[in-house]
């Protein structure tokens, strides 16, 4: 470690051992939030492994092509978000705003598709306590896990809009966009596990 780096790694009002406070706090929140979803998916796995009745056939219940498009939407929004962080770091305010708004729009698209999927699921008889496909835990975990994830997406869209409208003129705009980006990427990260564990296995 050269001396030139030493001041940046000190703990100051703005940073803790060289990591900005806001970013560090967001990371710690994301770790705890990840453990929440780990608990949900662990409970789901337990329910499924311990079930004495056969688990419902996912291909009969879900339109996997539709879910794949939802997954593409979220992946794409992660790329526009990463681009927003890069644009903010380069000081390009209009590009940052455009990328943030694109990310929020794709997030809304995802939510709309999820609302559509839930509508079908409920019309087909899926309830948090029972469903026509068999084990009640199947629909219980469906609502719990996709519901919590969807709530995270909704909050993410609101945070994106706030960042695009309020944070960009501030001197620490790049940091604010980066912290917002961490949260948004996390929402995509959770979906990787939900998509893999719930829809593909």
């Amino acid at each position: 470690m050269s001396l030139a780096h030493a001041p940046a790694l000190a703990t100051t009002e703005r940073s803790f051992h060289g990591v900005e406070w806001r970013k560090l706090m967001m990371w710690l929140f994301l770790v705890t939030d990840a453990l929440l979803f780990a608990g949900f998916l662990g409970g789901y796995a337990f329910c499924r492994l311990a079930s004495d009745r056969p688990w419902p056939d996912r291909t009969q219940v879900f339109d996997l092509g539709f879910i794949t498009v939802m997954t593409f939407a979220l992946i794409t929004s992660s790329s526009t978000m990463a681009s927003a962080v890069l644009a903010a770091r380069n000081g390009n305010r209009s590009a940052t705003r455009a990328f943030l708004l694109a990310t929020a729009t794709i997030g809304l698209l995802f939510l709309g598709m999820q609302a559509f999927e839930w509508t079908h699921f409920i019309e087909d008889g899926g309830r948090p306590w029972e469903n026509p496909w068999g084990v009640p835990g199947f629909s219980a975990y469906f609502f719990l896990i996709t519901g919590f994830h969807g709530t995270h997406v909704l909050l993410g869209v609101l945070v994106l809009l706030l960042t695009a409208t309020r944070s960009l003129r501030r001197p620490n705009a790049a940091e604010m966009v980066e912290v917002t980006g961490l949260y948004w990427h996390f929402v995509d990260l959770v979906w990787v596990f939900v998509f893999g564990c719930f829809y593909l296995i």
Binding site: A8, F72, I75, S79, H185, V192, G196
Partner: protein, 87 residues
Amino acid sequence: MTTTHSSPTYRTYWGAWLILLALTLTMVYVGAPAILVGGILAKAGIITLLYMHLWHEHRRLFWTVLLGIFLTSAVLVALMVPDARAM
């Protein structure tokens, strides 16, 4: 480290986007268990290490996040899976 000689560019991010799409399609259409687990881990790796810049963060933050999540998840699996199978 936050400043690095190999900072990602737009090209890196959209290249990663293509890889993520390809991984997703492979997982959906091939669907073998090894492909699914590998696909999930590869996608999670790209998102955390590249998009969330975890690879370029301070090493202490890197290990705090990684160990925190992986150790707890490992304990969760180790305690729950044998019980679930025994039921």
